[in-house]
Subunit: 472 residues, 2 copies
């Protein structure tokens, strides 16, 4: 298809979504929940063929993909439940207070309206959970916004197969027509056209810092700028203090190895930095971790571009770090990434912004610090991260306060146990953090609050009863 | 002071605020509430001299300024109450659910942390309520963020006098030191330096589209971009349908005239467009409105720049509209704006973006439409507005639905009675709307939710009990 035809196709998909919006913004909670549940059933029904296609296109394993499909189905049903329960937005109503301002005021209802058509840029690394029917799509649909999904070029066949299921559901009720559209185009052009489209009201994006920042700039440069919710990369530091190593250090090393190398290290929350205090206990832990990593089975990466970035990233870290305790991570000649570690000194890490850049893949930089205070400094040198994991901070003391305070400055989710990969879909979740992990750290792309990205507050003042039915 | 010294002064003020942040983010609710209440008492105590200075600097009237000071005191006390009641942010906690994901999950607490030092650009038109101790300052302080206020060059003496009061309060407790800093500089440079400062975490701004958009771009162009909450201009359409004119048309005309011309039309929510159906009833209403406007006392505008913009704006509208029913608004030779009306056809209004640009001052464009459907079209041609007022939409019928739906697409607050000027400070308030009325339409600068601009969600996962005390 020529470029021009491609862009016309984008326009046609957006036009259908705009028509759909007029119906969908006023659809009943029951209709919205039914739609999400039907999509969930459709995915579940086609589980085996979908997982097969996904395996071929992404190199991810069968168990991982099956689990991801289960999670995607769960998300759809979870949001359906929340829609029915009216839990995705909260109205606030203040009755008339007689008298002059500022104390007196009219009757006010603070409620929300859906923003309009949302452009969803699918992620490479979650072909189900952050693609055509993934978290961004669900959180938008649930609150009345149609979506146009920019297919990730790493899994076009899967995207089309999932869209065919969605199309079947959309065809079953006139009200659902046009709610989910698909845009393809391997180059940058169709994505740019989508972000620039005057009828697109918001964008969600999961991907690289370079690509995401470029699209974010385009969203801001529009005559009428629109919100761009991007997740652009995160190094997810893990701090391990001595008390965490006294008991169960071996188990922790095994869990961390799996978190670093699982799915060939291609999770948004894969730990890329491990920070500990210099000394024999840490040395032993790092050796256990290295041993654990050597046992992790990895597979080819999601795309050739990601392969190339990983090779360049580990080459860079190899140049910047001073010594190794384990084989350094490498892309082997067959294109499979081999997990491993780099080791560096805390001061060097703080001084080098290149050491703090994300390397997407099964690579981790071990940072050795002299004191808890220096650990806090290391954390603060990371401007933003989706997660920070803090092991061994059980006691209520100033050194721990200092480390947590630093983690709270840079992180969106702070874990005191477990590993950062695996993000629960709950009311309480927050999956977002200071730049560059998110373009807007006040919003999340996982959990109930992810719908808040697509709802705009409005106030009705001194309104007739019928007006309430025009806002849902 | 030379430019260089000026910028050094900015750095010094920010540095003090950064130190203050380390204490303030952990201050008790009681300390925060005490601070806000002390500021309120300080303002109230100096009411007369402050109003006198404000009158000299702004040309605004004594009653208006006294009322604004009362409102500012109310805001401070209101937020103090909300801090004590814990109403400015809501935590969500999910206990452990045993079992594998996606249903099973760890203990999660979604809470919030203050973002850091907030740069507040004071507004010209609210020398108390949106200046040194105004709404932006209060909403930031209440949730743990120190502020650096960029003084509005239209009222520097008043700003210094209010800051002297704040300084007295800050001097009374070590915990309060450095919480409110002042930055001066008539040019653009010190403001730019503030927005570019690496230690500034967010910006709030009320002012012109040109100045606001420029600063917003600078906030986005930083190495680490920061949120910029700007209110950049709004034309606040008022729709009047025939049923609103049948009874009480005269009263409505008088109220609207006062809303258009009050404070010489220098409110963010002053109505700049009146939309009605062609015909004798509307003609009569417009004549009453014109008569009402001729009785409004106006005074010189806030600054010479605003005077010039008003003169240029009414000259432009005069060129673009076809006929008058009342004297067109004009800046008279003594520099006092005289209120008045322009009249135009709906189609012309929809076709001309120049007709839709805000003219800050006592000017209003009457737009005559052929049908309710065309009224909706006129509304939709306005991309964003803080308010939309809809008179005469009592009945639950399709024509009214269409107009309200259009209003909901473009407006932040929809009024069915009364006038848009006068914004209640309540839990339910929303003072923000689609671009350009706000740079981020999901946030408000008035009411309890205004603090949400300065709080970032964080999740604590599997956390020890002591960690709760590090987030407030």
């Amino acid at each position: 298809m020529s470029t021009n035809l491609n862009l016309q196709a984008v326009d046609a998909v957006v036009a259908r979504a705009v028509l759909a919006f007029d119906r969908w913004k006023l659809a009943s909670a029951q209709s919205r929940a039914d739609f999400l549940n039907e999509l969930a059933h459709g995915l579940e029904w086609s589980r085996d063929p979908l997982v097969d296609i996904a395996m071929t296109e992404t190199s991810l394993g069968k168990d991982r993909l099956g689990g991801e499909l289960t999670r995607t189905v769960f998300q759809l049903k979870h949001f359906a439940d929340k829609v029915l329960a009216g839990r995705l937005s909260a109205d606030v109503e203040n009755e008339v207070v007689a008298g002059p301002p500022p104390a007196g005021h009219p009757h006010l209802l603070r409620t929300h309206v859906p923003v309009g058509v949302v452009a969803v840029f699918a992620a490479s690394n979650f072909p189900f959970a952050f693609s055509v029917l993934g978290g961004d799509t669900v959180s938008a649909l649930a609150v009345g916004c149609p979506v146009v999904v920019k297919v990730h070029p790493g899994h076009p066949r899967l995207s089309r197969a999932v869209q065919a299921i969605a199309q079947g559901v959309m065809d079953s009720r006139p009200e659902w027509e046009g709610l989910i559209g698909l845009v393809e185009g391997a180059g940058f052009e169709s994505g740019v056209h989508l972000v620039e489209h005057p009828q697109v009201a918001a964008v969600s994006f999961t991907g690289s810092l370079v690509g995401g920042r470029a699209l974010w700039k385009i969203a801001n440069a529009r005559e009428v700028p629109i919100p761009f919710y991007g997740e652009l990369g995160s190094i997810n530091p893990v701090v391990v203090l001595p008390s965490a190593l006294e008991q169960g250090g071996g188990e922790r090393a095994a869990a961390l190895a799996a978190s670093i190398a699982g799915s060939s290290g291609q999770f948004c929350t894969s730990p890329g930095v491990l920070i500990g205090l210099k000394g024999p206990a840490m040395d032993t832990f790092v050796q256990s971790l290295a041993a654990g990593l050597s046992q992790q089975g990895t597979h080819r990466m999601l795309t050739e571009g990601i392969e190339r970035s990983f090779a360049a990233g580990v080459e860079r870290l190899g140049r910047l770090t001073e010594r190794g305790v384990s084989p350094a991570p490498v892309l082997d000649p067959s294109g499979v990434p081999k997990p491993g570690l780099f080791v560096t000194d805390a001061q060097r890490f703080v001084d080098s912004h290149e050491l703090r850049e994300e390397v997407f893949g099964p690579s981790c930089v071990v940072v050795l610090a002299d004191s808890p205070a220096q650990i806090a400094e290391v954390l603060l040198s990371v401007t933003g991260s989706l997660t920070v994991t803090l092991w061994g901070l059980d006691g209520d003391d100033p050194a721990h306060h200092r480390i947590l305070d630093a983690a709270l400055r840079i992180g969106g989710r702070i874990l005191f146990d477990g590993v950062p990969t695996g993000v629960a879909v709950t009311e309480s979740q927050h999956h977002g953090g200071p730049w560059p992990s998110s373009t807007n750290a006040l919003f999340t792309s996982v959990g109930d609050a992810s719908s808040a990205r697509f709802l705009r507050p409005v106030v009705l003042q001194s309104f007739p009863a019928w007006a309430r039915a025009r806002v849902r």
